[in-house]
């Protein structure tokens, strides 16, 4: 991720793919397994809590549905940002990246509200199995969103320095891949935890 990429011609790679793009896709594939572990824990431990609060009462869909729309929108703004710089629109890039980060932070705020509501209902990591599995799964997802926002900030900083151009914008593509992946994980979580109420 060097600003000096233009100075040193990149050695051609065996597959003709940029190393960094390959590493991000590989990493994403690995992270799929990580979230699978957390999701499967949630699923198999359903209905085994020996005390409340129970998800049927504690979880409510409306707020989280709005949060889901927010995160989906952020994927849209992210891909629009990429589209902008592909056309050479640096201002558009910055604008849409900021929008993505803001939506990401909005999502995290929504999660904070959701968590607080659940705390007030007596749910926590130690309250019961539901609390444990719920907060671990959504907590780690939230951490990933947070890391994503920071990553976006890094790219944004570089964009403001003029380091992201029509010919050199891999950084935007890569943070986008990560961001969409985190969105997909949320799609699954939303369905499994809130909608299926399994």
């Amino acid at each position: 991720m060097s600003d000096i990429a233009a100075e040193h011609p990149i050695e051609p790679t065996s597959l003709g793919i940029d190393n960094r793009k390959l590493v991000v896709w590989t990493f994403i594939a690995s992270e799929v397994m990580f979230f699978t572990g957390l999701i499967v824990t949630y699923i198999v431990m359903r209905g085994r809590s020996t005390t409340g609060p129970y998800p049927e009462e504690a979880l409510s869909v409306p707020l989280v549905a709005i949060n889901t729309f927010i995160l989906l929108s952020s994927s849209f703004t992210m891909v629009t940002a990429l589209s902008a710089i592909q056309r050479g629109d640096a201002r558009g890039l910055r604008r849409w990246l900021i929008a993505t980060a803001v939506l990401g932070l909005l999502f995290l705020s929504g999660q904070a509200v959701e968590f607080t509501t659940l705390f007030n209902d007596g749910a926590s990591l130690s309250s019961n199995l539901f609390g444990a599995t719920f907060f671990t799964l959504t907590g780690f997802h939230g951490m990933h969103v947070f890391v994503g926002v920071i990553w976006i900030a890094f790219v944004l900083a570089r964009a403001f320095r003029g380091g992201v151009t029509k010919d050199n914008h891999l950084a935007v593509e890569l943070v986008g891949l990560y961001w969409h992946f985190v969105d997909i994980v949320w799609i699954i979580i939303f369905t499994v935890v809130y909608l299926l109420r399994m």
């Binding site: 594939a29 929108s73 891949l177 699954i188």
Partner: protein, 95 residues
């Protein structure tokens, strides 16, 4: 770079589809219909849309699809096998 310039999916269209699908999913939970067989395909569709179009997988190198699919395949296998393994006993062996 590669194939990016050749194909520009309708991002707004995809977004609209995602919104509609999500709204449908939420609506389903308020209706007296079986959830699992409806919600799973809807969610998968959403995920597929994001992967194919936002992550550009449809237009990119097949290697990336391969990598991602290994992960997905592994995920499904784990979830399925764990759900089966954590069922209460199927056979009463200690009869």
């Amino acid at each position: 770079m590669e194939s990016e310039q050749q194909s520009k999916p309708n991002y707004l269209g995809v977004f609209a589809a995602l919104v509609v699908l999500t709204a449908t999913e939420v609506a389903v939970t308020y209706l007296p219909v079986p959830r699992l067989p409806i919600l799973i395909p809807l969610s998968i569709t959403k995920a597929v849309l994001v992967v194919l179009f936002y992550m550009h997988l449809k237009y990119d190198r097949r290697l990336f699809s391969g990598l991602f699919l290994i992960g997905v395949f592994g995920a499904l296998a784990v979830i399925l096998s764990f759900v089966l393994l954590f069922q209460p006993p199927l056979l009463d062996v200690a009869k």
